[in-house]
Symmetry: C2
Subunit: 653 residues, 2 copies
């Protein structure tokens, strides 16, 4: 195959906040053996991308890998690719941060490997048409996208590169061959050979860019790629066949683009489906399978930003990040804060597909930790502030203190949407709700082949305990959600979402006022009492102080009759360890934080767990603890009752 050019890019990434042992295993089973082997074949040119978290670790702990890359870079075997340093989705972070993250990576590569990068690995290949300006403005000449991007623009030949522009800034685009993406390194060489011969016969170049974790870290691939020798056999095959491997830059300098393209926002086909709600996903799948081949290009799933519609928790994190970014922008000298912000922009917890992503508390926790760390490095004003931080068209209340930081959403139940504990840089209320996912419709396990199987084909193992995880929450698991429950409601029925809400407070708008140190939230709503809808008001006064947050509830019967209601304001915490003292109406988190309700008639608590998909099958993940004090209130006409909840830093108690 002497007429075939093979362009190959490997992308390696581990998220900010991933476990140490995952990093270790990734280097041990995957990155290091890969680099050692390709370094044995100096003729084999390729492009390589490591994300910032991996470079940071490599510099300290993985000197052998570093040295291998250095050597291959020196002899021109490897072309290093740029990217946003901490692997953010470029389209959804502010332009100033896009530029900052790109410069960080460009400078890092130039200083350490002596060459300005010309190519970029686009995080998750999330494309929007205005990116060329930013990228070309930072010296990037090309990036790789999925063939689906090109198909959507009616491009038929994906074995060539194209040129696009924004505002007159040009960018070269290489289509990633999906077929090769599923063959390499999963299938026997005969199949790879057949595919490459076909490309050569068509006069094109074979272009592949993919996750390096497929070479040792994905299930089964360590055995297949290294122990059974797929990679060495592949490299020897490439040499034997005389396939011309070239860096993308070499190819670019020798070959004019095959044409001009303008691509709509897109990513790889699977991601554009993951972003859909399950019901929509079904409709899309049906349409896709019914559509004739020539019309496939007109079918689009969602685009990345819609993850912020699908997952309120992803939206909260995203808007929180934008808030921190706008604060960092006001302090141009705050370089440490800026780096923390960049770490908090790492893409993984902002979405969910085949990897855990958003579902993984340690990744969300890392994002919040870095965002809070950024804030702690800025001279932010203490006290209450009013700002529509999440851009839903309704004012939110933010309180910044020494120990706590709160975000209250008057427009949505007067709820507590975030409670940060600053001494530990933690968002205590970072709890993910249970929601229907497309993959909850379980397939029969597929027969697994003997060879390394693509992750997309791994058999679906149904966990026996899955059934009770498939109850879906009707609201995000915020805190201070003001339920009125039917007297017959049990802990179990509440937990199963098998109960009737008697009031209209949980997600409804509250009036608000800042009164001295307190935010006062109130709503005149109604509660079903027997057959009647009775007017009731709820006022909650949130008074944060040094090391303590006090919430005083006042429930008033606005009707002309005596009523009995069961008031049950729900809170959700992502905190461990957890001790429960029901007698005192207390719970203690992290041996330090004391949550207390004033003399509840009962105190419910239960774990919130989700069932999600990951590269190895299914994960059952403990997301947090739901705490619900129950107060049975007997209120005469026009009368009210007062109850209290406190959250206190009991450090040294």
């Amino acid at each position: 195959m002497k007429n075939l050019s093979f362009l190959f890019a490997v992308h390696n990434h581990q998220p900010v906040g991933n476990f140490d042992d995952v990093f270790d295993r990734a280097f041990e089973d995957c990155y290091r053996p890969f680099l050692k082997i390709v370094a044995d074949y100096p003729f084999f040119k390729f492009a390589l991308h490591f994300s910032g978290p991996l470079w940071d670790r490599m510099r300290i702990k993985e000197k052998e890998c570093w040295a291998l890359i250095e050597r291959m870079a020196e002899r021109g075997q490897v072309e290093l690719l740029s990217g946003g340093y901490y692997e953010p989705i470029l389209a959804v972070i502010p332009e100033r941060d896009r530029i900052g993250q790109l410069r960080l990576m460009n400078d890092f590569l130039e200083q350490n490997f002596k060459r300005k990068p010309r190519g970029l690995w686009l995080t998750e290949r999330v494309w929007e048409p205005h990116l060329p300006r930013t990228l070309a403005g930072q010296g990037i000449a090309y990036t790789l996208l999925d063939e689906e991007h090109f198909r959507m623009a009616g491009v038929e030949n994906i074995h060539a590169h194209y040129i696009t522009e924004d505002e007159g800034w040009p960018l070269h685009l290489f289509p990633i061959d999906k077929k090769l993406r599923y063959l390499i390194p999963f299938r026997p060489l005969e199949e790879v050979k057949a595919a490459l011969e076909e490309i050569e016969a068509g006069g094109g170049a074979a272009i592949l860019g993919d996750d390096g974790e497929k070479f040792g870290l994905w299930p089964g691939t360590k055995q297949w790629v290294y122990k059974e020798g797929w990679l060495r056999r592949f490299l020897e095959f490439v040499e034997r066949e005389g396939i011309r491997t070239r860096t993308f830059s070499e190819y670019l300098d020798a070959t004019p683009p095959a044409g001009r393209v303008y691509l709509p926002p897109a990513s790889y086909e699977e991601m554009m489906e993951w972003v859909l709600e399950p019901r929509e996903f079904e409709a899309f799948k049906a349409l896709k399978s019914a559509a004739p081949a020539e019309a496939r290009r007109f079918l689009r799933g969602g685009f990345f930003r819609e993850f912020f519609i699908k997952y309120p928790e992803a939206n909260h994190l995203h808007k929180r990040m934008l808030l921190v970014s706008s604060e960092v922008e006001k302090h141009p000298g705050a370089e440490e804060a800026r780096r923390e912000l960049f770490k908090g922009q790492c893409n993984d917890p902002y979405w969910h597909g085949v990897f855990g992503g958003l579902y993984l508390p340690h990744l969300r926790g890392a994002a919040y930790r870095h965002l809070i760390e950024a804030e702690k490095r800025l001279p932010l004003t203490r006290g209450w502030d009013q700002i529509d931080f999440d851009l839903d068209g309704r004012i939110d209340l933010i309180w910044r203190g020494a120990a706590f930081q709160l975000i209250v959403k008057p427009g949505w139940g007067g709820s507590l949407a975030e409670c940060d504990f600053l001494p530990e840089s933690r968002n205590l209320t970072d709890v993910l709700a249970r929601r229907k996912e497309s993959y909850h419709a379980f397939e029969q396990p597929a027969s697994s082949g003997e060879e390394g199987a693509s992750i997309h084909k791994l058999s679906r193992r149904i966990p026996p305990e899955a059934a009770d995880l498939l109850r879906y929450d009707w609201h995000p698991r915020l805190s201070l959600l003001d339920h009125f429950l039917h007297p017959d409601t049990t802990l179990e029925s509440f937990q199963r979402i098998d109960y009737g809400e008697q009031g209209n407070f949980v997600n409804q708008p509250y009036a608000w006022a800042i009164e001295g140190p307190a935010a006062v939230l109130s709503r005149r709503g109604s509660v079903w009492v027997g057959e009647d809808r009775v007017p009731v008001s709820v006022t909650k006064t949130i008074t944060p102080g040094e090391g303590i947050i006090r919430i005083v509830y006042r429930v008033e019967n606005l009707s002309g009759r005596t009523i009995s209601v069961l008031f049950a304001p729900e809170s959700n915490f992502a905190l461990f360890p957890f001790e429960f003292e029901p007698a005192g109406g207390r719970a203690v988190f992290m041996n330090r934080l004391v949550w207390e309700a004033s003399a509840p008639d009962a105190l419910w608590h239960f774990p919130l767990r989700t069932l999600s998909q990951s590269e190895s099958g299914y994960d059952i993940i403990h997301q947090g603890i739901c705490l619900v004090p129950l107060w049975r209130l007997n209120l005469n006409a026009g009368d009210g009752a007062t109850r209290e909840i406190t959250l206190k830093d009991g450090h040294g108690r």
Copy 2:
């Protein structure tokens, strides 16, 4: 219908460079009567957008309209909408120009009508997801988009407004009800009433924004809307029914958004189809009609930028505009040049749909005129420059002189892609090729109703002379296209594109060099001579000087035998009047520009005409003159021949 809010925006626009009498008729038949009538009904609140070309004219010639708007603005009846002043497609002009055009309109409205605009009419509703940052940054709180935009994002309720953001900048979006768009003002009030009642029953707001030209300027509407009294009857109906008309701002201030959206790039449904090639359009239509309702949201046609793929001439204009913009950017004080640039960004000639747009030479001519005027106001360096101005990944050669300005494309036939004549600020080579359009597949005339019919339903009149306009060019009509023709080729067969190209020069890459004052373009290619492919080289030396451009052709026979070839370099000019002097091998344009070929064996010329769609049916448009000198060259082995073409400013000859 006392519970119904009716939000109504009227958008009025005439392109930069449109004929004076069209402007006059638009005010006479449409804008003035509309304003006079609505001013009689002060209860009727609405939003109004005039584009810059109309404001510029109104200020001078249409004082009555101006006064009516002033009065309605003062009493809060009308809310004026902003926009890019000269009505550019915001997504495809540079950010600096977006901001410049928005500020121009914002300042104009604030100075003249005493209120900062909060709403924006988005030119042709061409949306891309990064626009909110720009718009919100200029104080814009909302815009209107088509319901299709929202459908694509899975939004079902289009009788409410939504909020979106980019980089943390929020923007409110109002969906335009497509049904109302087809009812108002075309259908009887009973039908309008039924539609509004349905919206009221669903608890929503009726939201409409549309072209004001439907009120008097579109065929049949003057009679229907004014003479037959549709508009007055409609306003009286609104009053009688107690429908609440409000400005968009009033509504916005009183009503929180129904939800958050992220919309993909889109425009109205029709435009996303117009951008498709005819073959694709067929596939798309078939898919659309076969798709079940719930899957319709996943179907996308093209997006606006793809007009630059479909029409090379639109692409040329767009990239030319970007070049001028980058020159203007280098000269921050050049305010006059900047305004000329902005005029040159007016959207109409950049695309084509149901209106003539790109097909109309006077609109393209106006765009080029303003771009050239901008350049004339900048201190640009004379002589040759090398730049990939159209961003196709290949270097172009630009020559700037006192009388002429040239753009040569070595990568594409060494052709002359643009020849500007500066004394008259004209692009002499602005000729549109004949190409297949979806609407060339003629439908049977539909029966026209008696009432004002929507333009989309107007009967398709098939011009009897259409047939010979439906021959399609295989290349854009650039100049210095180096044909070798079969000896039997006739003028008629050449004109009908019914001939065989014997050489491989027309659109193939040429080597190039700048040698002193000249650009030297050369290609070693081949020509079919009888049964044989014979190696031939063509060298063209383009020497521009003061008032004259000299092109010297050298054709060389690289073979070992004697050959006879018919060399026929084609040029195309958009110039009138035109005198033809075949005997002298000469043509004279505009009584001034003399084109001359050195002793051709024949000189062909023929008009280039296109068949295009417009609001009134079909237009046959004279696009330019094709000029082809024929040189029969008998070349011995290794021998060559030299021929010459000149273009001279014969002013005062």
